[in-house]
């Protein structure tokens, strides 16, 4: 049975790749497909373990690694943009020259063959012209296969997430230490990014967010739904005494994402910042929501059980304790937000259909908002075990509490 100590070690990456590939194969059988053609970065990473250069969306789209997984084939076919990133166990006859899905993909069609039913995650117009639109192969949506395979993590995946989170957390005390009037958001990003690579991060997944929150929603930014705007992109904006800063960062370790969320306060020297009574009360309510949800987390509990638990500790007329465009809970893995998603606009029936199982990873991100007095938001990550959960995050709630 999984215990907290099990995720403290480093991952066995070769075992992790074997286990993930077996899950993909099992789902191919379950969904009765002949193969899977994958061009999405996280799907390719999961199915093949091929490392790529971290880059912005434009470069990553042009210089992609592409995978074709044939049912019962012991290895995936990989069309590698970065051959040095391929796992050592991949046999030579499964390694192919790079293809450019933005421009064309003919060699992939030759590997797939004809008259098959193949899952596909997405395609470009060039792929449509040369392959998908030809109808020689019956292409269907690959997402049921991939989300089922990716939903429950192996112990090595949990170790990667734990390590990503650990590196992310270890970088934060240095950033907290420089928080004072006149420091720019981009200064915090620079310091944070240097530290994560010193501490062993594989890459950075998202431009770090240090959003200064308004007192009231009507102070802006304007939103389509009338709820709080978050997360907005970092600029060179200067922080000021009294600012409430919502922090959200995500890095990667061996392909797996962290998710660090905290609320900070800016104050003039000598500091440290002292939350007001109202702010401490927000934090207390946030904590109560997290504790109520965690008390509910165990195999067999539904997403609906979790949302009810979150609301149960607040007055009946309280705001929903999470952002309307997001969720109470999301998963994390090779994507920074993936299934299970709980509390989204997919609705309560969808939440009820989510049944927790061992290996699922839950990122809890409740939000307490008192319009006129801003709000509190932090994030905690746990993995579901056979009987409950173990933590994957471990960081104090500076400057609100330990």
């Amino acid at each position: 049975m999984l215990a907290a100590a099990d995720v403290q070690d480093g991952p066995d990456l070769a075992r992790m790749r074997r286990d993930r590939y077996a899950r993909v194969q099992a789902q191919l059988t379950t969904h009765d497909l002949d193969g899977l053609l994958l061009i999405g970065g996280s799907n390719v990473e999961y199915a093949t373990g091929a490392r790529v250069l971290t880059a912005d969306a434009g470069r990553a789209a042009m210089f992609r690694t592409v995978a074709y997984v044939a049912r019962d084939d012991p290895f995936p076919h990989v069309f590698a943009a970065y051959p040095e990133g391929l796992p050592a166990e991949l046999p030579a006859d499964h390694i192919h020259p790079v293809v450019y899905p933005e421009l064309g993909i003919r060699p992939v069609g030759e590997i797939i063959g004809r008259e098959k039913s193949v899952g596909l995650d997405e395609y470009t117009p060039a792929m449509w012209r040369e392959l998908v639109g030809s109808r020689l192969v019956d292409f269907v949506d690959a997402s049921p296969v991939m989300s089922a395979a990716r939903l429950c993590k192996t112990v090595d995946e949990l170790r990667c997430i734990r390590m990503a989170q650990h590196v992310n957390e270890q970088a934060m005390p240095d950033v907290e230490a420089v928080l004072r009037p006149g420091v720019r958001q981009t200064d915090l990003s620079g310091l944070f990014l240097r530290r994560i690579f010193e501490l062993g991060a594989t890459g950075n997944a998202v431009d770090p967010i240090w959003q200064v929150m308004p007192d009231r929603i009507s102070d802006g930014p304007w939103t389509v739904h009338g709820d709080v705007a978050f997360p907005t992109a970092t600029t060179d904006a200067m922080l000021r005494d009294g600012d409430v800063v919502w922090v959200d960062t995500g890095i990667t370790f061996c392909g797996y994402a962290s998710d660090f969320g905290r609320t900070w306060l800016v104050c003039a020297p000598p500091g440290p910042p002292r939350p007001t009574g109202a702010q401490l009360d927000q934090f207390a309510r946030w904590r109560a929501v997290v504790e109520a949800v965690l008390d509910t987390v165990k195999p067999g509990a539904t997403g609906g059980d979790l949302t009810r638990a979150a609301r149960s500790v607040l007055p009946a007329d309280a705001r929903t304790p999470w952002l309307e465009h997001f969720y109470l809970v999301h998963g994390v893995g090779v994507d920074s937000a993936e299934m299970p998603l709980i509390g989204t606009d997919l609705g309560s029936a969808f939440d009820e259909s989510i049944v927790l199982a061992p290996g699922m990873v839950l990122v809890l991100e409740p939000v307490i908002w008192d319009d006129g007095a801003s709000g509190y938001r932090s994030e905690e990550i746990v993995a579901v075990t056979d009987s409950g959960w173990i933590p994957l995050s471990d960081h104090p709630y500076w400057p609100f509490g330990s």
């Binding site: 240097r194 994560i196 431009d207 992109a233």
Partner: protein
């Protein structure tokens, strides 16, 4: 709030077009010099609508962040890598309107209009309905897209049953191909940012530093200049004597005398600057990087001279009307092997076509004045090492149709002739 649509403002390259010494900076100046972003957005909007008309597109549904950024001018959150397809922006030709998937108006140009923002949904059916509710979509006969997923294609067929789904990527590439002066100004700033980051990386080279730490050094330097959007994690890889180029940085610890390839990039307002150099790790005691010892170092200096010859031949061929095949021919005519990586790719708001390289990749591409390219070359010799270099250039930017090299950075120990000490 109606978008102003005029004739497309295309770049007309003027030789020596007055790039002043104050132009390469990121802060706004009170007199309004530097980039005129309103003019930049208006130009791109016009070019998009012209491209739609030429391709016969009633509606354009965009999923690629580069296209969304280019057409909308919205400053969105940078995330690494490709994301799953979603309809991030919709352009309707009949109204000229740009509709944007954004929950808030922060970072969104006012000219888009709040009423043209549609919210994020985790339910693809809801998202398809949001797209269908945009005036002009339901009755569209031809919808272009730059990417698609099987699920969204079927949802779209249900909400816009009369529409034929066609290629929206090629028209967008065409619209983005020739840069306006404002776009070139952004690219110059991006190049200067990248040079600053490369300078910090070079300064950080010493024994004991790990390859991936150099990514953080680069990121911290550009952040100190107010920008936190790298184009790539910067290829900082020790190039061994095996002559193989690695591009994905790892955990290798640098040692004195190591030859390292550095090839970072940064985005300014979405526009990508990038350059690459091959450097030598110094002893770390304040002494100059002297390069490999004795014969090995001289071997590297020879490689650099060969690289220079081949790269200059390639650069000299980057002229209007030249084809991809001619560019490859220019490189191989020097006797150098064609690298396994592309010689050339377009840049603008991130990477664009053409991509020219081995296996006849991009052989039919034709260059034109006003295109901006990342040009890279590699000369390697097993047993000796590797020399890699990259520049960002503006085709037709100089007299006589010569390209203007937008990036500037020396070659340090390799060019100093001090190799081999």
């Amino acid at each position: 709030m109606d978008p102003v649509v005029g004739p497309p403002v295309l770049a007309v390259r003027v030789v020596g077009s007055g790039v002043s010494g104050s132009s390469v900076g990121v802060a706004a100046l009170e007199e309004g010099s530097r980039v005129d972003f309103a003019r930049l957005r208006s130009s791109r909007h016009s070019r998009c609508l012209v491209a739609m008309e030429e391709a016969g597109l009633d509606v354009l549904i965009l999923g690629r962040p580069g296209n969304i950024h280019w057409v909308s001018g919205a400053r969105s959150l940078w995330t690494a890598g490709v994301r799953a397809f979603g309809p991030g922006a919709v352009v309707v030709r009949s109204t000229g309107a740009i509709h944007l998937l954004s929950v808030w108006d922060e970072g969104v140009p006012a000219s888009i209009g709040r009423e043209r923002l549609y919210g994020l949904s985790w339910n693809p059916v809801t998202l398809a309905s949001s797209v269908a509710a945009i005036p002009g979509v339901a009755e569209a006969a031809t919808i272009g897209t730059d990417a698609m997923s099987p699920l969204f294609a079927s949802l779209l067929a249900a909400v816009a049953p009369r529409a034929r789904l066609v290629d929206g990527a090629v028209p967008m590439w065409a619209a983005r191909r020739i840069k306006s002066d404002d776009e070139v100004a952004c690219l110059r700033i991006a190049c200067a940012l990248t040079e600053a980051g490369l300078d910090a990386m070079v300064s950080a080279l010493r024994p004991g530093v790990r390859e991936r730490e150099l990514i953080g050094v680069f990121d911290e330097r550009i952040a100190s200049l107010g920008v936190t959007t790298p184009a790539l994690e910067g290829v900082c890889c020790v190039a061994g004597a095996d002559g193989q180029l690695r591009q994905v940085p790892g955990d290798r610890t640098l040692a004195a005398g190591d030859v390292i390839v550095l090839s970072p990039g940064a985005l300014y307002a979405g526009y990508e600057g990038g350059l690459g150099r091959t450097w030598i790790v110094g002893p770390g005691d304040g002494g100059e990087a002297g390069g490999g010892e004795g014969g090995e170092g001289r071997g590297l200096a020879d490689l650099y001279r060969r690289w220079r010859v081949a790269f200059d031949r390639l650069l000299g061929t980057c002229r209007p009307e030249e084809t991809g095949a001619n560019l490859v021919g220019a490189w191989t005519s020097t006797g150098e092997r064609l690298p396994s990586i592309p010689l050339i790719h377009g840049v603008g708001v991130g990477v664009e076509p053409p991509v020219v390289g081995p296996a006849r990749l991009g052989e039919d591409a034709v260059l034109a004045a006003g295109m901006v390219l990342s040009v890279q070359g590699l000369v390697s010799e097993p047993g000796v090492g590797t020399v890699f270099g990259r520049e960002t250039i503006l085709v037709g930017g100089m007299a006589g149709d010569q390209a203007e090299v937008l990036t500037r950075f020396g070659w340090g120990p390799l060019a100093a002739g001090g190799v081999g000490g």
